[in-house]
Every structure is written in structure tokens, then in C-alpha cells.
């Protein structure tokens, strides 16, 4: 091979982090300029949309890239959300004597929140490993059944937790494992401080999108796609299919947990078991199917549209599920691969699809 002078190490390193820097800058802009100018209602919608983008793009790693069928994504969101909520709620009580939000932008409270979200993501990833390891060894529809069961079992367990939250004085006396069983029961986990802001949503959406895109354009993501295309052929090309499927599933659960952390600390939402049940999982599946199995931009766009649509059609909210179901049927008939299929939105303007790589 000819030795061509490649880009210098500094340039390579800069390219590696550039998308994150751009995302951070955009998040700051969103937080300090766009959000204040557009009011609390629009800001809340933007944050809802961002959380749904993370959910849809992360589920797409499993249902789109790897061709498996998970229908329990809200379960992992709940694991992340409750874990993160536990950390900030009781952490704040122990540290500052009250669960209320503490400190300003990037202050102590927000750092606790960041740690809580990462903890939520880690626990959700662990749950993903426990659910994925046995069910992904088998072919076919086992994963759908197991993920559905997982979500429902989790919902019932959460409903049975203690609904009386201990006071600050009691918290200091209660051992930590026992606190974990006090998460509000069927009524929901109220009083979690509101730390989720346009900035944090923007940061996590950036991380999700960059991770998904880099995965898709590298050899790891190509292995995901190969499994979706033909599992027998993938295995014959030396791809350890079970391990790769579990990796995709764990990664997907990790980001669902992160989205759960954001959701738990969002103004105007109560973390409750019903809200994170099958209905929510189904919503995310619809986003992926509509946007395109395997399309990152497609899933993201579908997530945004399906967040805004119910707001625009407020008066029809009772018929939302009928509308979704009808939409799903139409897409399945007219364009079974979803709006964008495996491609990305920017491929639409290209005459011929370049490989999934650069």
C-alpha cells in the first residue's frame, strides 16, 4: 500500500469530537436563546420531542438495524427513569435536606441529575442484558414475547411499591435498599426535582444521533445490519450473531434508560407505571416503523411528527390510537419499509444510494 500522508492526529481528534461540540453549541443556543423566546409550552413540546427522538432512534438499533422485534422499550425507560428519580429525590434529601431543585445551570443539583441519568442508563443496560441474553439466543418472535412480558411485570411491580414517600428525617434513618422500594406505587413518583432542560435534552439527543450514525457507518453497525438482512449468512461470514444482537439490545436499553431519566425530571410529568406501560412501547414502535426500519433520520423525524401531531389534533385525542393504527396499516401497505427504509433523509437527494458508509 502506498503511504499517503493522512490528516494529522490533531485533525483526526477534532473530527472525532466535532459533532459533539456542534451539538453542545446548538443545545446552549436552544437553552438560552430559542427556549426563552418561544415560551414554556413550546419548550415543553421540544423536550418531549427530544426524548421521543432518543427513544425511537435507540429502539431502531434493535428493531431497525438488527431486525429483531422488541415491544418493551418503555420498560427500559421506566428502569432508567425510576433509578434516576431515586438518585435525585433521595440524594437531594440526604445532601440538601429537601428534594427541591438545587443550584443553577451546571450547579450541584444538575451534576447530581447527570449522575442520576447515567446511573439510570447503566441499570437499564443491565436490565437489557438480563432480558436479552436468554431471549436473543433463540430465533423468531421470542424477543417480542419476552420484552412484552418484561414491561408488564415491571409495571405490576412498580404499582405495588410503597406509595407513601418518607420524609427527609425518615430518609436519613432508612437503609438505602429499602428506599428503593418507596417510589410512589400506582399513584406515581411525585416530587422528583425538575432538572430536565432544553440543554440536557439537546446534549443527550446529540449523543444518541452521533452514536447511531457512527455505528451505522462502521463495521460494528454493518454487523447489526447483516443480521437483519440474513442471520444465517451473517453467521457464515464470521459474525457472532448472538453476541452482536445482545450488544445492540443492551445499547438500545441504555439509551432508553437515559430517555427515562430525562422524562422523570421533566416539568409537568409524573413518573407513574401506567404512563410507561405497553401504550408507550407501542408509540415508539410506531415511530420506528413509520420512519423507516434502519433509518436514523427517519425514526427521528417520525418521533418529532408523532409528538407534535397529538398537540395539533388536541380535540381528536380520544381517536389518537385509531389514527395511529390506521396510519400504520396504510404505511404497511403502501411503503412497508417505512418512509425512508434503510436510507437517510440526505440520501433522498442523491441519485444513487452510497453504501451505508462514508
Amino acid at each position: 500500500m502506498e503511504a499517503r500522508p493522512g490528516p494529522s492526529a490533531a485533525v483526526t481528534a477534532l473530527r472525532g469530537v466535532l459533532p459533539f461540540l456542534v451539538g453542545a453549541f446548538a443545545s446552549l443556543l436552544l437553552h438560552f436563546v430559542v427556549a426563552p423566546a418561544s415560551g414554556p409550552f413550546a419548550t415543553k413540546l421540544v423536550m418531549d420531542a427530544g426524548i421521543n427522538v432518543i427513544l425511537a432512534v435507540s429502539l431502531n438499533l434493535v428493531n431497525g438495524f438488527t431486525g429483531q422485534f422488541s415491544i418493551g422499550h418503555a420498560g427500559f425507560m421506566a428502569v432508567g427513569g425510576y433509578t434516576a428519580g431515586l438518585v435525585t429525590y433521595y440524594g437531594s434529601m440526604l445532601l440538601w435536606g429537601s428534594p427541591a431543585a438545587h443550584g443553577g445551570f451546571l450547579g450541584g443539583g444538575e451534576l447530581l441529575f447527570l449522575a442520576a441519568c447515567l446511573a439510570g442508563a447503566a441499570v437499564a443496560a443491565l436490565a437489557g442484558l438480563l432480558v436479552g441474553l436468554p431471549s436473543l439466543r433463540l430465533r423468531g418472535d421470542y424477543l417480542a414475547i419476552v420484552t412484552l412480558g418484561f414491561g408488564e411485570i415491571l409495571r405490576v411491580l412498580l404499582q405495588r411499591t410503597g406509595d407513601v414517600l418518607p420524609t427527609a428525617a425518615e430518609v436519613r434513618r432508612t437503609p438505602l435498599p429499602e428506599l428503593a422500594t418507596h417510589v410512589g406505587g400506582a399513584l406515581g413518583f411525585t416530587g422528583i426535582p425538575f432538572y430536565t432542560s432544553p440543554f440536557w435534552v439537546g446534549i443527550f439527543v446529540t449523543v444518541m444521533l452521533v452514536v447511531a450514525y457512527r455505528l451505522k457507518s462502521g463495521s460494528h453497525g454493518r454487523s447489526f445490519l447483516a443480521i437483519r438482512e440474513d442471520e444465517v449468512a451473517a453467521e457464515a461470514m464470521g459474525i457472532p450473531t448472538t453476541r452482536v444482537k445482545v450488544t445492540a439490545f443492551v445499547l438500545s436499553a441504555l439509551f432508553a434508560g437515559l430517555a427515562g431519566g430525562l422524562f422523570a425530571h421533566l416539568v409537568g410529568t409524573t413518573l407513574n407505571p401506567r404512563e410507561l406501560g405497553f401504550q408507550k412501547s407501542f408509540d415508539v414502535v410506531i415511530m420506528v416503523v413509520l420512519g423507516g426500519m434502519g433509518s436514523i433520520s427517519g425514526a427521528a423525524i417520525a418521533a418529532v411528527i408523532l409528538t407534535l401531531l397529538p398537540e395539533l389534533l388536541r380535540s381528536f385525542s380520544e381517536y389518537r390510537m385509531i389514527l395511529y393504527a390506521a396510519l400504520l396499516v396504510v404505511v404497511m401497505i403502501v411503503r412497508p419499509q417505512g418512509l425512508l427504509g434503510l436510507g437517510e433523509i440526505w440520501d433522498v437527494w442523491r441519485p444513487r444510494r452510497k453504501g451505508t458508509g462514508r
Partner: protein
Amino acid sequence: MSGPLLSVESISLAFGGLKAVNAFSLSLGRRQLWGLIGPNGAGKTTAFNLLTGVYRPDSGTVSLEGRRLNGLPPHEITAAGLARTFQNIRLFPDLSVLDNVRVACHLDARHGLLAALLRTPRHLAEEKAMEERSRALLSLFGLEERADDDARNLPYGDQRRLEMARALATAPKVLLLDEPAAGMNPREKDELTDLIRGLPARFDIAVLLIEHDMGVVMDLVEGITVLDHGETIAVGAPAAIRRDPKVIEAYLGTGAVDEAVDEAVDEAVEGRA
């Protein structure tokens, strides 16, 4: 080490009462080209499936350079150096032609997931090397022009060639080809024959070839193993196999009459071309 590269000792597999492969043995040396023939349903593809771990043999052993392979999952067998193509083409249809080959280069990649997500220099270098190797394979098989097309849109003959390029991308020591010339026209077959002939020296591999087209097989291989109803009925040099009464009987005695006709037609066409 001076033993054979691939050594198959008396492997068998039954589907219920049907002995699909019975006591199949084979020994392949470095850079050897060997043929596996037999009428439809003889057990040829099943033998490939046994070698590559799709099925586990009921008995017998498969070893590559002295390392025992039977019992390993297919991906480990491929990583150990046994690659294959599929008789009923199994490409990754929605991926580009380039990506079909690149996927199979993943065994070259030593970087982890995190390196890929951070785009470290190592990740970039390995990705670049994989792309270059894939493009070189594509151009060897005359597919470089179609690198960006979806695999599903290739004509049949190109799909078969892409299967071969993809299998070679795993950097095998032994390549198993299941009817690579099926469905090709005589000109394509000639080109393919020349290409296969060059593979052992070019890639330092042994090739085991299943092929119904006797013209292609006889022309290429050093020796042939003939299967019929799962049994090995003859082993030997092409010239001897051609005259072997058991082989002639197997081909004429079973439902392979149409095939003999096909072949006669093929040869007639080739003769004219």
C-alpha cells in the same frame, strides 16, 4: 506441519430416517482444487452444512490444520478459516455491493465499539483498510462499477460472483463453493472457470467445489468425490470418474435424466459459442 490442511473423517448426518450424508471423508492439501459431485439430493449441500457448522455431525470429525472444528458454532468455524457460498444465494439484499463484502471483512477489525463511536485513528485506519480490501475483491470479480448498488439489484451471475467475493473477504484457508456457475450463461461460466482456477495461488487457499456442470468441474479440479444418496460412491481423478460405471449409473439411474439432457444442451451451446 505436513498433515493435510482440511481433514474430514467419516462424518454422518441423518434427518430422521434419511441418511443425508453417510461416512463422508475428505482430505484437502494446500492450494488444492477438489470437486464434489452427485445427482440432486445426493447430500452435497448437507456435507457443506456439516463442514461449516450449520448442522452438527452425528459422528465423525472435521479438522483444519489439526484443529478440531466440529461442534463449534458457524461463526467460529468461519473465523478459523472455512468460508462458503450458498447454493440458494444468500446475500444481504438491502446493503450495497461494497457493504456486502465489507461486512465479511469485520474479522480484520480489532478495534472495539467505543473506538468506533469516538472515531479513533485506529478505527479510521482499520475501516480504510477494510474498504480497500473490499474494493480490490470487487474489482477481481468485475463488480467495482456496481459497488454502490444494492445487492438485490444485481443480475443473477453478478450475485453469484458477489457471494464468492464476500466469502473470500473472510480471509479463508479453505473456500467451499456451492454451485457457483448455476444459472450462468456459457460465457460467464468460462470466465468463472478461469477465475476459480486462479484462486488457490492468488489467495493461498484450497477450494472445494460443488458443481453440476461437468464441463466446469472436470476442467478445474485435481480430484473428485462423488456422492449418491449420502454415500461416497467414487473418489478419483476426473478422467477416471468420467468412466466409472457406478458414477454413470448414479447419474442415469436416478431422476437425473433431465440433468443429463441439460448438460448435453449446455455442451452443444458451448460448442457453438
